[in-house]
């Protein structure tokens, strides 16, 4: 009897999913189909590979893609190097300090990131620093650092202190405990932190536009310009599709490498 009710309940609850399915269809699936459609057609709506041929024969676009991946990689590494100790500090200190630090990290997040980026540009101007590649990387790290810190902080706070004591009890020094217990156990946090920083930075364009006055073009900038120009809409769609494929490939590679390392 109870089971019967539960099943019926479940049936009812299926309807709750309808709004989400609608959102998914209209905001994710449909745009994807449209991107694919535009990527494989020309301005007149005829099927063509021209857009892709154009990309792979132009060293410019390919170089920008590689450059964007490079910048994203550097940003991710810097965020990790700066963010991990910060998260570690917050996870291990007494209760009040992390609360203060979290507020300090959250506070800038309340300001729209475009405003923050413009402010950063102004700040660089004020101090007299050139708006170049370094400024770009600084701005990206500044914007995305919290996305690295939070997942790591979460995974670090979840580690049972008894595990650290057990490690010490079995003869490990503090350093050994860090490398043999804390670091491996915070890996899920590092992974999601890396994804959350790498993915948006590889496709960003606003930050490079604002922080280098459009001197440095990232892959995102090219897509944006192509689409905004109106005439190159189909080319822009093809570039988006290519970027999507490359991001997925990177993530897939990361996942596989991780699986293999955990097997050994």
């Amino acid at each position: 009897m109870e089971l019967f009710w539960k099943n019926k309940d479940l049936d009812k609850r299926r309807f709750w999913a309808v709004p989400y399915i609608e959102v998914l269809v209209f905001l994710v699936v449909l745009p994807m189909i449209m991107i694919a459609f535009y990527a494989f057609t020309n301005g007149a709506g005829h099927f063509t590979f021209y857009n892709f041929v154009q990309f792979f024969t132009q060293s410019d676009a390919i170089n920008t893609l590689i450059y964007s991946f490079g910048i994203a990689l550097i940003t991710t590494i810097v965020c990790l190097v700066v963010g991990y100790p910060a998260a570690y500090f917050m996870a291990t200190r007494s209760f009040r300090i992390p609360a203060v630090m979290i507020i300090l990290f959250i506070l800038p997040m309340w300001v729209n990131f475009l405003l923050r980026t413009i402010a950063t540009a102004e700040l660089f101007g004020l101090v007299g620093l050139p708006l170049d590649e370094n400024a770009l990387i600084f701005g990206m790290c500044y914007d995305f650092l919290p996305f690295m810190i939070y997942p790591i902080l979460t995974s670090l706070s979840k580690i049972d202190t008894a595990l650290l004591e057990a490690s010490q009890d079995l003869g490990a020094t503090r350093l050994q405990t860090f490398f043999k217990v804390i670091l491996p156990l915070s890996k899920p946090g590092i992974q999601s932190g890396v994804i959350m920083v790498f993915m948006p930075t590889v496709s960003t364009f606003a930050i490079s536009e604002l922080l280098t006055h459009n001197k440095i073009k990232l892959f995102g900038s090219i897509i944006q310009e192509s689409i905004n120009s109106g005439v190159m809409l189909n080319y822009g769609a093809a570039l988006s599709l290519i970027l999507l494929v490359f991001i997925n490939l990177t993530m897939l590679l990361g996942k596989n490498a991780d699986k293999e390392s955990s097997l050994h």
Partner: protein
């Protein structure tokens, strides 16, 4: 190596936490090589802190801890030849069973083949041989416990510390693991120090038991000593079921309680000394009054000492647990294999050797105070009325000793009605009344005898009638 007879010596160790609570209060303990010692006590008694001081996770505020004759009080855990089995196992979730067990050896850079050999051996000891490559999360609680033990013994520690290792297991599993622990202890030949709040577990496992309460050791002894000869009410009450009664040691070999005189096997308490007696429920002899009516009048004196009526009888599997209300109004818990119906009149007999006489910790509440004006005294930072005209014997401002009997302290439901506020900390049933320990908000203790029923944790107001506050001149 030291030639010390004791593997562990704890010397006058006290531990105060940062918030000022005294968790260990002058604890001294010696453990011999190869012993199985259990530290037993209710939660918050400091038993785990003591274990953590021995392991090195906490440093004693004062006192010394010696391991094999060497002072290790301030040595970090990774430099001590003791290993710990944690309460919730604390297995590394990112490592499989083999790597968990091998953790300690890998740190020591032991040769690979040697590691394999020793891990296999350790897993064999805990009967987990076929689980080497399993994820620790896929194991049951009992299996995880075994792996935790294997991981701790692989370093060949001189002492194995176990912090309530079986508390997360179900009853049946616990009983099995207890027997296995005894086996392992025999096989390994190393010292086990085991912390538990389960008195049955302590009695089953240990060579010796250390009973703790409020950061102090109450008694150290073999399980039989602890059970049969508890040193105070707390131990008697905590270990097993017991009847604890107020009594008077009339003279050597004779004790008076439940309004009767009983022969006993104790002496040396002096005459007419107030004491506590403990009688285990299974030590009573019981028979029905109706089946063998005792001769009325001046006939031969019956050996059966107490008469009463059964007020409750509960079947407990092997025996019946009964409450007997004696004619004098004392309620006694009695165990027997036979069932006596509720309402049945019965007779009880207690043999002299089954009466355990214990010194009372104190006979009345004592305080130090100062005489104020207008027949008042000040103690515990409060002014109290006394019925005595203080001017007759004392000067204003004179220091006095104050005594108040347990049964003349008046507890109030409403905290506001009392001169002091406090909380009921422990309750001991003494046959016809309750003996309460009340802690005031300032941390002072009141012992209260009352017939009223209170619960542990109740907030109470404390009042004392002026006529029951006795004042004594301070002897210089």
């Amino acid at each position: 190596m030291s030639n010390s007879r004791y593997i562990i010596e704890v010397k006058h160790v006290s531990k105060e936490f940062e918030d000022g609570t005294l968790v260990l209060n002058d604890v001294s303990l010696q453990v011999e090589k190869g012993e199985f010692v259990t530290i037993l006590g209710p939660s918050g008694c400091g038993k785990t802190t003591l274990l953590r001081c021995i392991a090195g996770f906490q440093v004693a505020t004062s006192g010394d801890i010696l391991l094999n004759g060497e002072d290790v009080t301030e040595l970090p855990p990774n430099k001590r030849s003791v290993n710990m089995v944690f309460q919730k196992y604390a297995l590394f979730p990112h490592l499989n069973v083999f790597d968990n067990v091998a953790f300690g050896l890998k740190l020591k850079k032991v040769d690979r083949n040697e590691i394999e050999k020793r891990v296999r051996k350790a897993l064999k000891i805990v009967s987990m041989s076929d689980y080497e490559l399993r994820d620790v999360d896929s194991l049951s609680g009992g299996q995880q416990q075994r792996v935790a033990i294997a991981r701790a013994i692989i370093n060949e520690p001189e002492v194995l510390l176990l912090d309530e290792p079986l508390s997360a297991l179900d009853r049946k599993m616990r009983a099995d693991m207890q027997l296995e622990l005894i086996e392992m202890h025999k096989k390994l030949g190393i010292t086990f120090i085991y912390v538990t709040h389960d008195q049955e577990e302590a009695l089953t496992l240990s060579d010796r038991i250390v009973v703790m309460k409020d950061g102090k050791i109450q008694q150290i002894g073999t399980p039989t000593e602890i059970y049969n000869e508890p040193q105070n009410c707390f131990v008697a009450d905590f270990i097993g079921e017991s009847n604890i009664l107020d009594a008077v040691m009339v003279k050597d070999w004779l004790v008076h309680f439940c309004d009767h005189d009983f022969e006993c096997t104790d002496a040396g308490f002096g005459t007419d000394q107030e004491v506590d007696v403990v009688i285990r429920p299974e030590d009573f002899y019981i028979k029905s009054l109706s089946t063998n009516p005792s001769p009325e009048g001046e006939g031969e004196k019956s050996p059966w000492q107490l008469r009463g009526e059964v007020t409750s009888c509960i079947f407990k599997g092997v025996h019946y647990e009964m409450l007997i209300l004696t004619e004098e109004g004392y309620e006694l818990s009695v165990r027997d294999y036979r069932c006596f119906e509720v309402g049945e009149k019965v007779q009880l007999l207690i043999k002299p050797e089954d009466i355990q006489v214990m010194q009372k910790e104190c006979l009345y509440n004592t305080f130090q105070g100062t005489v104020l004006e207008d027949n008042q005294v000040e103690f515990l930072d409060e002014a109290w009325d006394v019925s005595e005209r203080t001017a007759d014997r004392f000067e204003v401002g004179e220091k006095v000793d104050i005594e108040v009997d347990f049964n003349h302290i008046n507890l109030q439901d409403d905290e506001e009605d009392g001169v002091l506020c406090g909380e009921v900390k422990s309750i001991l049933y003494k046959g016809d009344h309750y003996h309460l320990t009340v802690v005031t908000d300032e941390g002072d203790l009141f012992y209260v005898d009352t017939k009223d029923i209170w619960d542990k944790g109740d907030r109470v107001g404390i009042k004392i009638a002026p006529s029951w506050i006795r004042l004594y001149k301070v002897e210089s």
